[in-house]
């Protein structure tokens, strides 16, 4: 009796294994052929570019297409470096992982609202800047009493965790402001739409991208009085030799008008214009 049960189990196991193996075999052959075809049409190596996946208007993943100003600049630069669109491999680069992704060579370039700072220059290198953003406020469309950070006295303000933009307003402009910190900007806009907070603060172009989203269009607006400068650079590893070429590409993009076009297309319908005293920027000299 006992032996029979055991034999039965073994037979079942063997059958399962055979099934699993044949399934694997099928997968392998089909996967192999697709990949082969892809390489043949692409030709040459790939470039890995880190972007945000969750910032509408800058770096946003919708299904398998990537949209936003950061991705437009990235495509332009990649093309000038000799990589066509289908040779670009997009990778998500969340704020906290950007330095690690670059210093471990998991990505070649990062276009992800990456401000150039001296502390970051100790571990990574920057090309650009390709855009100069400034801290601004996003308010409800019908709001007229918030014109700048000074007007936030006694109001509720939302920002994301891990940035000091909200704290800066509390320290320098309006000590009586109540701060809410949320994991992402989308949560902040939800709170703004429900009326529980009066304003959302971060870089103006991020706010414009949020305002341009179909769900928020006509409900929120960017105040348009930036009160800081954030210089967005292209993050590269310190050993990278691409800095000069990226800067040339950025300058060309600004000169031939595609830079302006990309800004307009990604903030359409919000009436947003970048701070004209700083934009378009001239790339810094490479280190």
């Amino acid at each position: 009796m006992r032996t029979r049960t055991r034999t039965g189990g073994l037979v079942a196991l063997a059958a399962t294994a055979a099934l699993a193996l044949s399934a694997c075999g099928g997968d392998d052959s089909s996967g192999g052929s697709t990949e082969g075809g892809g390489t043949a049409s692409g030709g040459g190596e790939k470039i890995t570019i880190g972007i945000k996946f969750d910032q509408p208007g800058l770096g946003f993943k919708e299904g398998d297409t990537y949209t936003g100003f950061d991705t437009d600049v990235a495509r332009y630069v990649a093309e000038k470096l000799g990589y066509s669109e289908d040779q670009i491999e997009w990778t998500e680069a969340p704020s906290a992982q950007r330095e690690t992704l670059l210093s471990t060579d998991q990505v070649d370039m990062i276009f992800a609202t990456y401000s150039i700072t001296d502390k970051r220059k100790e571990t990574v290198a920057f090309a650009g800047p390709y855009f100069v953003a400034g801290q601004d406020l996003l308010v409800a469309e019908d709001n007229t009493d918030i014109q700048g950070p000074e007007d936030l006295e006694g109001k509720n303000l939302c920002s994301v965790t891990g940035s000091t933009s909200a704290q800066r307003i509390k320290d320098e402009y309006a000590a009586g402001v109540q701060l809410l910190e949320q994991p992402g900007y989308a949560e902040c806009v939800t709170a703004l739409l429900s009326g529980q907070v009066d304003a959302v603060t971060t870089d103006d172009i991020i706010l414009a991208g949020l305002a341009a989203q179909p769900a928020n269009k006509g409900k929120v607006k960017v105040v348009g009085a930036p009160f800081s400068t954030e210089r967005y650079g292209v993050g590269i590893s310190q050993s990278s030799d691409k800095c000069e070429d990226i800067n040339t590409a950025i300058t060309e993009m600004i000169e031939d008008g595609s830079w302006e076009e990309a800004i307009t297309a990604n903030t359409e319908g919000t009436g947003y214009t970048p701070n004209s005293s700083e934009n378009p920027p001239t790339p810094d000299a490479c280190a």
Binding site: T123, T161, E181, P183
Partner: protein
């Protein structure tokens, strides 16, 4: 080595690291008390002889044990506070702290309930039968006979829940508590990315220091308190 030491020093000078851990300890403390109360009531419901209460307790446990904590937190801030406009305090910091404690408590209450139920299973059936035989009804029997023994048998699983709660208290960031450790870690990486290893070690070691004593204490206590049969 001296290089690392100066990096830690820089982090501790420019950020309130101990203050951030203190916020997590406070979150854990209040949430643990609340979760213990809710969890005990739930366990009583589940072992009670009334089918509707058993059903309600089991439903609560299934529902909250299988809902990600982040979703509970986001629901509390964006749903209960954002849309229903229910406030637990007038000023933002205490309001969101209370929401975070509430979220942590209702989530971990499900696990506390199951830990206590496992403790109830260590009490021999004869104890319950003897309690009924001397005329105690369900509640007095539970209070005087069953639960005291059950708690002594569930110290180890309750300790596990407490350890999970300590670490889960970082999810309070999703409920708008911005002074706790995971938010501070994000801020540090944003502004001091050049010392990322020191940042990682600060929080890794911090949580090891918090969690290991709890583990040791519950293991010792569970040995000492277990009813010798």
């Amino acid at each position: 080595m001296g290089d690392y030491l100066s990096q830690f020093l820089r982090l501790f000078e420019s950020y309130d690291v101990l203050g951030a851990f203190w916020v997590n300890i406070q979150l854990t403390f209040w949430a643990a008390i609340l979760a213990l109360v809710i969890g005990t009531v739930l366990a009583l419901m589940r072992i009670s002889p009334i089918p509707s209460l058993q059903w309600a307790g089991a439903t609560y446990v299934t529902l909250f044990r299988n809902t990600p904590l982040t979703i509970i937190m986001v629901f509390l801030t964006l749903g209960v506070w954002g849309q229903l406009k229910i406030q637990l305090a007038d000023d933002f910091p205490s309001n969101f702290f209370r929401f975070a404690v509430l979220g942590l408590a209702v989530y971990h209450a499900a696990f506390v309930c199951e830990a206590i139920r496992s403790g109830v299973n260590t009490v021999p059936l004869g104890q319950a039968e003897a309690a009924r035989a001397i005329g105690l009804s369900f509640l007095p029997a539970a209070r005087i006979v069953i639960l005291p023994q059950a708690f002594r048998g569930s110290v180890a699983p309750l300790g596990n829940v407490l350890i999970a709660l300590i670490k889960n208290s970082t999810v309070a960031a999703a409920a708008g508590v911005a002074t706790e450790t995971s938010s501070l870690m994000k801020t540090m990486i944003e502004f001091d990315s050049d010392v990322i290893i020191a940042i990682f070690l600060t929080f890794a070691i911090g949580y090891v220091i918090l969690v290991i004593p709890v583990g040791l204490a519950t293991t010792t206590l569970s040995r000492r308190l277990a009813v010798k049969r």
